[in-house]
C-alpha cells in the first residue's frame, strides 16, 4: 500500500524574468516503510518536490497542477490549519543547510519540546523525558539539551535536527540533502543513523541528494530527476545493474566505483538547462549522446517499461530490452 502518491505534479516559481518551471509533470509513489531516493543535479526540482509535499513553498512558488496524496488525502487541497497539523506530526522534513536550521537564541531542547507541544497535549516534564529519549536515540548527550545551537558542532546540530524531525513519530520523513554541510566522516555517521532509525521505526523515507552513491546506500528504489522531470525510476539494484536512460547511464559512469572492473570516469558533457527556457522535446537531448531527431521535437512519455521500472526516453523501447 502506498503512503504517498504524487501525481503529475507541476510547480513553478514566479521571477522578474519569467516563470521557472521547477517541477513539470512528476509522478511517483512511496510505499509504507519504503525508502525512496530522488537524485538529480542542483536546480532539477528535487527540493521543490520536498517543499511542495510540506506545502512550504516560498511566496513566489505557484502550483500549476497535480495531486499529492498522503494516506489517500490530497495535501494540495488542505487548508493551512489542516496542513500545519500535518507538518512535523505526520510528515517531517530535514532540509538543506541545516547548520542554520536551529534558532540561535533558543535552547536546542526547548526547540524540540516546542515541536512536541505544538501537536500533542503534553506537560513540560513528559516532553522533557521524550526529548531525552530522542537525544539518546540519535546519539546525543541529553546533558546538551539546555545548550544553545552555537555550542553544538555541525554533526551534533544535524543529529538534533533528526531528533526534532522524529519527535512526533512521523509516518513520512523527507530528508533533503541532510548532510551537505558536513564533512565526510560525520556525513557517513549521520547516514548510518538515519538508516538505523528508518529500519527501527519502519519509517517511510524520501531521501533527496545529488549524490547517487549516497542514495544507493540508503534507498530501496531510486528516482532520477532531470530539469524538473522524473526521467527514470527503478529499484536500486535494477537501476545500478541496467540503467536505461542515457542520463542515468551518464550519472553512474561519472562516479568512481571501488568494486567492479576499472573504467574511465566520464562526466556528462554540457550544462544543466535553464528552466526559464527549457529545451524543446526531451530536455536532455542537447546533452544526450544518443539523441535522435524526434528527441528535439517531441516530449518522451513517462511510462512503465517492466516491473517497477519507469522511464521517459525515446531511445529506449520495449523491444530493445
Amino acid at each position: 500500500m502506498s503512503l504517498l502518491e504524487v501525481k503529475n505534479l507541476r510547480m513553478c516559481y514566479q521571477t522578474s524574468q519569467g516563470l521557472i518551471k521547477a517541477v513539470d509533470g512528476v509522478s511517483f509513489e512511496v510505499k509504507k516503510g519504503e525508502a525512496l531516493g530522488l537524485v538529480g543535479e542542483s536546480g532539477c526540482g528535487k527540493s521543490t518536490i520536498a517543499l511542495s509535499i510540506m506545502r512550504l513553498l516560498p511566496p513566489n512558488g505557484r502550483l500549476l497542477g497535480g495531486e499529492i496524496l498522503f494516506a489517500d488525502e490530497d495535501l494540495l487541497t488542505k487548508d493551512e490549519e489542516e496542513m500545519r497539523k500535518m507538518r512535523g506530526r505526520r510528515i517531517s522534513l530535514i532540509f538543506q543547510a541545516a547548520l542554520n536550521a536551529l534558532n540561535p537564541v533558543h535552547r536546542v531542547g526547548d526547540q524540540i519540546i516546542e515541536a512536541i507541544q505544538a501537536h500533542e497535549r503534553m506537560g513540560k516534564e513528559e516532553a522533557l523525558r521524550r526529548v531525552e529519549e530522542l537525544y539518546r536515540l540519535v546519539g546525543l548527550d541529553p546533558g546538551m539539551m539546555g545548550s544553545f545551537p552555537h555550542q553544538y558542532s555541525g554533526g551534533m546540530k544535524q543529529r538534533a535536527i533528526i531528533a526534532l524531525a522524529l519527535s512526533c513519530n512521523p509516518e513520512l520523513l523527507i530528508a533533503d540533502e541532510p548532510t551537505t554541510a558536513l564533512d565526510v566522516i560525520i556525513q557517513d555517521q549521520i547516514i548510518k543513523e538515519i538508516l538505523k532509525l528508518q529500519k527501527e521505526f519502519n519509517l517511510t523515507l524520501i531521501y533527496i541528494s545529488h549524490d547517487i552513491s549516497l542514495i544507493a546506500e540508503t534507498c530501496s528504489s531510486i528516482g532520477i530527476m532531470y530539469a524538473g522531470k522524473l526521467v527514470e525510476y527503478a529499484p536500486t539494484i535494477a537501476l545500478f545493474q541496467s540503467p536505461l536512460h542515457p542520463y542515468t547511464q551518464g550519472l553512474l559512469s561519472s562516479y568512481p566505483s571501488i568494486k567492479g572492473p576499472k573504467r574511465r570516469i566520464s562526466p556528462i558533457p554540457g550544462e544543466v538547462p535553464n528552466l526559464l527556457h527549457p529545451p524543446s522535446g526531451c530536455r536532455f537531448h542537447p546533452r544526450c549522446p544518443r539523441a535522435k531527431e524526434i528527441c528535439g521535437k517531441e516530449e518522451p512519455k513517462y511510462r512503465r517499461i517492466k516491473e517497477d521500472h519507469y522511464i521517459a526516453c525515446h531511445c529506449v523501447n520495449n523491444s530493445a530490452l
Binding site: 510540506m54 512550504l56 500545519r84 497539523k85 500535518m86 507538518r87 512535523g88 506530526r89 517531517s92 522534513l93 532540509f95 543547510a97 541545516a98 542554520n100 536550521a101 536551529l102 534558532n103 540561535p104 537564541v105 533558543h106 516546542e114 515541536a115 505544538a118 501537536h119 544553545f148 552555537h150 535536527i161 526534532l164
Partner: protein
Amino acid sequence: MNLGRFILNRLGQIVITLFIITTFLFLLFRMMPGDPTSMILDPKMPPEAKELIRKEFGLDKPLMVQYLYYLKNTLTGNFGKSFYYPETVLEIVKRKLPPTILLFTTAVILSYLIGLPLGKTIAWRRGSRLEMGATVFGLFFYTVFIPWFGLIAIWVFSYRLGWFPIGGMLTPEVWAADVGLFPKIWDVLYHLILPLSVLTLLFFAGSMLLMRNSMLETLREDYILTARAKGLPERVIKNRHAARNAMLPVVTALTLSLAFSLNGGVLTETIFSWPGLGKALVEAVLNHDYPLAQAAFLLLAILVLFANLLADILYAYLDPRIKY
C-alpha cells in the same frame, strides 16, 4: 559569562570617551581667537571675583597647566559659576537633569513599545495597505521639523482645546500648597503628556522601520523554515522565532537612535519650556553663559553614553551567543 567584567570594560570605554569630549571642550573654548578668558570669565564680575576664578582655573598659567586644572575641576564637578544665574553651574545642571531623564527615557521606552510591535506586524503583512500607511505615517514624523510640529501641537491641544498646559513641568501653586504627593505627581503627568506624545510620535518610526527591515531579513532565515516544518502555529513563528531574533539588530541600532533622539529632545524641551538640560543648553548659549553650556553638553553626552551602556547590557542578555 562575566557580566561584571563586561560592564567594567564598557565603563572604561565610557571614561575614555568622556576624557576625549572634555579635552575637545577645553580646546574648543580656549583656542578661540581673541581673548579666550571671555569664555570663562563673566565680564560683569567684580575684579576680586575674577581673580578668584583665575586662580581656580589657573588662567594665569600656561595652557597645559590650565588643561590639568580643567580636568581636575571637571572631574570634581566644579564647572564654575554661571554668568547668568546666581548659582554654581553644578547646582543648575543637577536641577535640570531629572526632567530631561524623565521626558527622554519615557519617550524612548514608549516609542519602542509602540514601534516594535508595529514593525513586526507590518513586516509580517508585507505589501498590505497597513504596511504602506504605517510606513508613510512613520516616515513623515521621522523627518518632520520638530519645533514646528511641537508648536502646532501646543496650538491645537493647549491653546485651542485647552486640554493641556502651554508649557513647563509644574504648576507652582500646586507645588507650593501642602497637598501631598499624589496631586504633585498628577501635576507633572499633566504637563508631561503633550511633550511626551510629540516626542513619542517622532521617535516611534525609527524603531518601527528598523524592526520591519530586520524582521524581513529574519523571515528568510533557515530556522523560520524549520519552525514552519515543525508545524508551529503562525503566531508562534512570528513572535517566538522571527520577532525575537529580529530584535537583536534593533537593539544594536538603539545606540545610534538614542543620540538622534536627543536632538529631538533638545528642541522639544525648548518648545514646551520643559526645564531640562536641552533647554538649559540653548538658553546658556543665547545668554553667552559658557560654563553652563559646557556642563549641560557634557551631561547630555554622559546621559547618552549610559543609555548606550544599558542597550549593550540588554543586547548581551538577548543574544546567547555573546560572551561578554
